[in-house]
């Protein structure tokens, strides 16, 4: 073993206090490069779909699906919205889009309201066995939706709500209660019990405490719950496909029907536009509400 004397460190040199401006810049560039690469990788499909929705169909056929556009034509959007034939009717996906809205908005609001109430009861008005109820309810969080398909088919048939948006509202409301209850209960647990005691001595009852004390403290968790439910219900398509058909279908199910439309040519421009129409509401919700979503999940009830 060669005995190499280590070079004597220069005075004031601390090997652990390295990284000059150059090294820092280099590592910074590396990080940006890597992250940029990942971002591009994830965003590329979206870009392709957006570009294709504005291209001429013949040009897509000539140049391929993934190519830089050499034409611009918003015709795909008009057709997708208004005239394209899905499942035998030629009125575009606008009907299905409205179906989705008519299904998602009430189901979101009702399941959130029930979740808030459940959470309030399970955190502030505990009763013998409430822990068991909570456990049973949150079991639904881990239950795959397919398990409930047959029971729901039976129930919807029995109450005459098959092939109806109201049926889907019912299904999504009930299926969502596990999540909304879990969210709200875990948030309300952090609200001090003394507030409830003080209000009870002040003469407020169950509903007045809920309305005047709990609800005003709830916006952060309600925003989280609404975003979660809205995107979840909007994007869900299994129940839509199974329990509705044709004009009654929500847009996610209609998109499936649209892609399996057995005609001659694949209408890539129209399909791209239709997919974007279907994806727009959750995107917008995340775009405007994402900030509150993160804040609501990380914030405690009271500081």
């Amino acid at each position: 073993m060669a005995d190499v004397a280590a070079p004597a460190p220069a005075a004031g040199y601390d090997p652990y206090a390295t990284s000059g401006a150059f090294a820092r810049a280099r590592s910074r560039v590396g990080v940006y490069l890597l992250l940029g690469l990942f971002a591009a990788y994830y965003l590329l499909p979206l870009l392709v779909v957006i570009l294709n929705s504005f291209r001429d169909l013949p040009e897509i056929a000539a140049n391929g699906l993934i190519a830089w556009p050499r034409s611009f034509n918003p015709k795909g959007w008009y057709e997708a919205w208004d005239t394209y034939c899905v499942g035998g009717t030629c009125a575009g996906v606008k009907g299905n889009f409205y179906n989705s809205l008519r299904m998602t908005i009430p189901a979101t609001l009702i399941s959130t309201a029930i979740g808030a109430l459940n959470g309030y009861i399970l955190s502030k008005w505990r009763f013998p066995g409430s822990a068991f109820f909570f456990g049973a309810m949150t079991l639904g969080v881990f239950m795959p939706g397919q398990i409930a398909l047959l029971p729901w088919a039976y129930i919807l048939g029995a109450i005459g709500l098959t092939n109806s948006t109201y049926g889907l509202i019912l299904v999504h409301t009930v299926q969502g209660i596990s999540f909304t209850t879990l969210f709200c209960r875990n948030y309300y647990v952090n609200i001090p019990d003394d507030l409830i005691k003080a209000a009870r001595i002040d003469g407020a009852g169950f509903w007045r405490i809920f309305r005047k004390i709990i609800l005003p403290l709830s916006p952060p968790i309600l925003i989280v719950t609404v975003i979660w439910q809205f995107t979840g219900i909007w994007n869900e398509f299994l129940y839509g496909v199974v329990f509705t058909s044709g004009r009654e279908q929500p847009i996610t199910s209609a998109l499936v029907a649209l892609s399996t439309n057995g005609t001659n040519v694949r209408q890539y421009d129209v399909m791209s536009a239709a997919v974007l129409i279907g994806a727009l509401p959750p995107l917008l919700i995340y775009f405007f509400g994402g900030r509150y979503f993160v804040r609501g999940l990380t914030q405690g009830a009271i500081k």
Partner: protein, 372 residues
């Protein structure tokens, strides 16, 4: 007439018995402090008086009405919480009027009550603020305002000062005392701070392990503690305890081994009833009743006994100097004037005020009554 009367009250949480037969009475206008270490059941007792906890057995009367099954809002009480429990989304004004709003009190009446309380507590400039915009002391005031606005039969305080810093705590303590003097409402005040209990209360209930150890005026609780727990809990530094032998032939006296091993005999100011334990007693004396012997001051006063002891530790606090001396095989705390404080290692002649001595039964730890 009494505002509060509690008879043989029990509380059980599952197998745990938290309260074991509490008897307590508060006369109208009285200030009763419930004091004890944490886990003694004082907060549970208060919650039961408020109706926030159910009664396992026994009776609670408020203003001579049995309230065991009456909901909190109908008990004619107001409560101040340790955490203040101010409604965070409401302004100070809304916090104070929330109760009246719940009871549908007419608006004009609400405004008058609000003005009265805001004036009393000097919180008028804060009425539009939210609790988060208030300091600790201000929150405390608002919490009291919310209670005061009700004009109830009974005020309940649950450790209201323990979230404040030391200086503010003393200020608010004085203020609560003034307030009680002015409003004159019956008050039940839970605290773990024996100084708070001593300064505020007209009677103190010392609680330990779910039982009331002693319920008496502060002076009595301090001078004649019912047992060794009360004696050591009330007062800081705590009372000194020395195992001793009681002799009643001739002048009554107690004997215990001194610092050098030789027996020390101190004459008692008054005879104690013979202990059941063959003359064994625990001799209890508070630090302020042991100090340096000065012939010019001590001579001639009856009941002053002298003993010499070695000083081991000296702790000056400013107003007084506490010294630890070795006596009866124990560390005994004595109080000295700061200018007259001994040095460590010094052997001092101590004067013990035997008028203030307490004798306890070593087996039951109860105070032995004085012979008449």
């Amino acid at each position: 007439m009494s505002s509060l009367s509690i008879r043989n009250l029990f509380k059980r949480f599952g197998a745990v018995e938290v309260l074991k037969g509490i008897d307590l009475e508060a006369h109208t206008g009285e200030f009763v402090a419930l004091v004890g270490p944490s886990g003694c059941g004082k907060s549970t007792l208060l919650a039961m008086i408020a109706g926030l906890e159910t009664v396992t057995a026994g009776d609670i009367y408020i203003a001579d009405r049995l309230v065991n099954r009456v909901p909190p809002k109908d008990r004619d009480i107001a409560m101040v919480f340790q955490s203040y429990a101010l409604y965070p989304t409401m302004t100070v004004k809304d916090n104070i009027t929330f109760g009246m709003e719940s009871r549908r009190v007419p608006k004009a009446e609400q405004a008058a009550a609000l003005a009265r309380v805001a004036g009393l507590l000097q919180i008028e400039p804060l009425l539009k603020r939210k609790p988060a915009q208030l300091s600790g002391g201000q929150r405390q005031r608002v919490a009291m305002g919310r209670a005061l606005v009700r004009d109830p039969a009974l005020f309940l305080f649950d450790e209201p000062l323990s979230n404040l810093d030391a200086k503010l705590r003393v200020e608010m303590r004085t203020e609560i005392k003034k307030l009680h003097a002015r409003v004159g409402k019956t008050t039940i005040y839970v605290t773990h701070d024996q100084v708070e209990a001593m300064t505020l209360a007209s009677r103190i209930a010392v609680m330990h392990k779910g039982e009331v150890q002693q319920f008496a005026e502060p002076r009595t609780v301090y001078d004649r503690p019912a047992n060794m727990f009360v004696a050591s809990f009330m007062g800081s530094p705590a009372m000194n305890f020395i195992p001793a032998d009681l002799s009643s032939n001739g002048a009554p006296s107690v004997t215990f081994p001194g610092g050098d091993g030789a027996p020390v005999t101190l004459p008692l100011a008054s005879a104690a009833l013979a202990s059941a334990n063959g003359g064994k007693v625990v001799f209890g004396i508070r630090p302020e009743h042991i100090t340096r012997y000065r012939p010019e001051r001590g001579a001639g006063r009856p009941g002053i006994a002298t003993v010499s002891a070695l000083v081991e530790i000296v702790e000056p606090t400013g107003a007084e100097t506490m010294g630890q001396v070795r006596l009866g095989g124990r560390e005994i705390v004595a109080r000295f004037e700061p200018d007259d404080a001994p040095q460590v290692g010094e052997t001092v002649q101590l004067a013990i005020d035997m008028n203030k001595a307490c004798l306890f039964d070593p087996a039951t730890e109860r105070l032995l009554p004085r012979a008449a």
